[in-house]
Amino acid sequence: MTRMAILISAMPEQQAGCLTALRFCQAAIAEDQKLSSIFFYGSAVLIAQPIHSNNANEPCVRFAWQQWAQAQQLRLALCSAAVTRFGITTPSVVFNVSGLGQWLGSLQSADRLIQFR
């Protein structure tokens, strides 16, 4: 079993990276791989913005991530500097605001780092 650390630096809904990362993580879990951490860096922290979608049929990558993380009981790490920069005040319970340093420390236990941008 490979332990993978996931780094996402793509802006949700504007770059394909966020959705690709979700699909990748879903496939990895389905294949019994271990995700040691999922870290949203830079503008990717916008994933934690509240969802105010008027159109229920519109696919929303933020909603998909949150729903999946909840179902898997996973915590998604948000870069604290970016959270402050974008003024995200009350991220939902699936998110965990952590520093870049903290995440880099957790990299030691991962076999592989995979980035989506």
Binding site: A81, L100, G101, L104, L113, Q115
Partner: protein, 114 residues
């Protein structure tokens, strides 16, 4: 020697956020005693121009203090943008042709690009 993390700078300095993210990550990794190398490729070579935004240029110039030098610069990216090393910041750098570039990439433990 432990395989280094490779931070690849690919975007023009107008994308200031990506430049800051790359610099933060490179510096944070060195604080964890991880070997880090930086590669400037494509429009990323514009980040090294002398007339760069002051704050980012200063941080780049401090790379020597963080053991982040020599930085690697893609020769082909410089040529195709008609740039010479004389126009770049005074940093210990290694200008790499195709084969050398491939070796830098192969040596890396993990590659993160911005």
């Amino acid at each position: 020697m432990i395989a280094p993390y490779l931070i690849v700078h690919t975007l023009a300095p107008q994308q200031q956020q990506s430049l800051a993210l790359a610099q933060d990550m490179a510096m944070a990794l060195t604080c964890f005693d991880q070997p880090v190398q930086c590669l400037f490729v494509g429009d990323g070579v514009y980040q090294l121009l002398r007339e760069q935004t002051q704050v980012f240029a200063k941080r780049l110039l401090s790379y020597s203090l963080y053991d982040l030098t020599p930085i690697f610069v893609c020769a082909e990216s410089l040529r195709s943008r008609q740039l010479t090393t004389a126009q770049l910041l005074e940093l210990p750098m290694q200008v790499c042709e195709g084969g050398d570039l491939q070796r830098v990439l192969q040596r890396a433990n993990s590659i993160v690009s911005f």
